[in-house]
Amino acid sequence: MIELRTSPHMKASLSLPQIMRHVVYAIIPICLFAVYQFGISALALIIVVTLSCLLTELLFNNLSNKSTSKKNSLSDYTALITGLLLALTLPPGFPLWMGAIAGFIAIAMGKTLFGGLGFNLFNPALLGRAFVQAAFPVAITSWTPAGLTERFTQFIPSSLTLPFTIPVSMDGFSGATPLALQKFEATNTPVSNLFMGFTSGSIGETSTLLILLCGAYLIVRGIMGWRIPLAIIIAVILTSGIFFIFDKSYPSPFFMLTSGGLMLGALFMATDPVSAPVTPAGMWIFGLLIGVMTIIIRLFGGLPEGIMYAILFANASVPLIEAVSQPRKFGFVKEKVKKKEAQ
């Protein structure tokens, strides 16, 4: 047999588990900050949701007899990432049993039923969140203020609700998110607080600065594309800027950028390589669509936050986006151009 050798300057591309391990590294600081802000309730929520995702993946692996072969999909870290990201989008006092259901739905309905990794139409984490948002609308909009003094010694009462029972009332623990305050009570939160993250909200979405740093790490390592986040940010600034210029009662673009789950969604959800388009032009269209939809839902929708539905909506339109954004093949000349040259 002829032995083929590669040139020494060839670089091996990263394998899937390697890429995903870097994504986990980038998510861990956000998780730590979430635990610092919301205490042991956030820690328990992260652990329960992630475990639920991993166990569901294991269950479906066993059902499809993949566990014995090399195709065991637990080892590629993607279920772990789905679990961590899903936990980061939930409110701190979210009952743990609901978190477990969200994790199950995310992996079962969002991923394995489509055929496993690489076949899902929607971002699994957001699909899980959308399910619990529709199933338990009260629990998922019960917010707790950040940085309570007793957060490391006692759980938020609603966290430890018995499975399948109604969580206890959140009176005395509630603290509306900056977006809800803005929408329903016309109170603006200082942007510096929003940027640093000392506000209430879903456990992982509060600190814009930290999310930007973690996202920048992935972009610098070449693991994450920069086009989608940039397109989302541009679209958000432009859309909310137009409203802000004509009517100052609308929130400013900077408020829109730093509040809610926009940064977490733009950097970690929308960039999911499976459910985002693969063509460069498609990525721009995809990002712009998410940004515009988010602002429209935030300003004119019933809910204060719109990034989740905007991303799911854009996920659904990915096949159309890819159809219109096919790049030109190398050396390929369009029929019209050919005709012109012939003349």
């Binding site: 338990f136 399948f164 029972t165």
Partner: protein, 221 residues
Amino acid sequence: MPLKDDHTITADTFLAGIWKENPVFVMLLGMCPVLAVTNSVINALAMGIATTFVLLCSSSLISLLRNLIPKEVRIATYIVIIATFVTITDYVIQAISLELYNALGAFIQLIVVNCMILGRAEAYASKNRLLKTITNSLGMGIGFSIALLCLGSVRELLGNGSLLGYSIFGDAFQPWVVMVLPPGGFIVLGAWLLLFNWIKERSAKTTSEALVTQKEFSNAR
């Protein structure tokens, strides 16, 4: 007629609609009421009975008239016959319970375009004798009702914590609001289809394995 009719009624004539050719779980017919009115057991039950009644009456009449209906206008004739019985059902439900009538809404009138009923008329009633048609339609109607009840009970149990309006899990139960909303219909239907196909695939596998072992056995002999 090119084919000679087979007039014998077997158990399969009746059971086909319940299991092997279940209109919802196998043929996926009449999805509109299946998804829309199964948010509670009582709605599902009422819809099942109404549809079974219309199916039974219309296919019997069509079976009786099958040699009189001109082929060119058969669909129109079927629709007129079905619409007659739907109108009767519509008024009867209004008379019995206005509350139920309002809960079912336009879906009672929409029975007229239920493709399961038209499908039975076209594929079965127009080719078979009265008694056989009645047997088959009854099976189909019961199969349809069972499917509606399957969806309705899961959706009411999870979405409201009750069955037929009676609380099952007590006051502390957290209802899953999504289950009584339209997405819940799709999710529960999908889950039932998954279960049915899984059972079918398993039974098909065991029968084929049994056949193989039988063959090996006879070969060895």
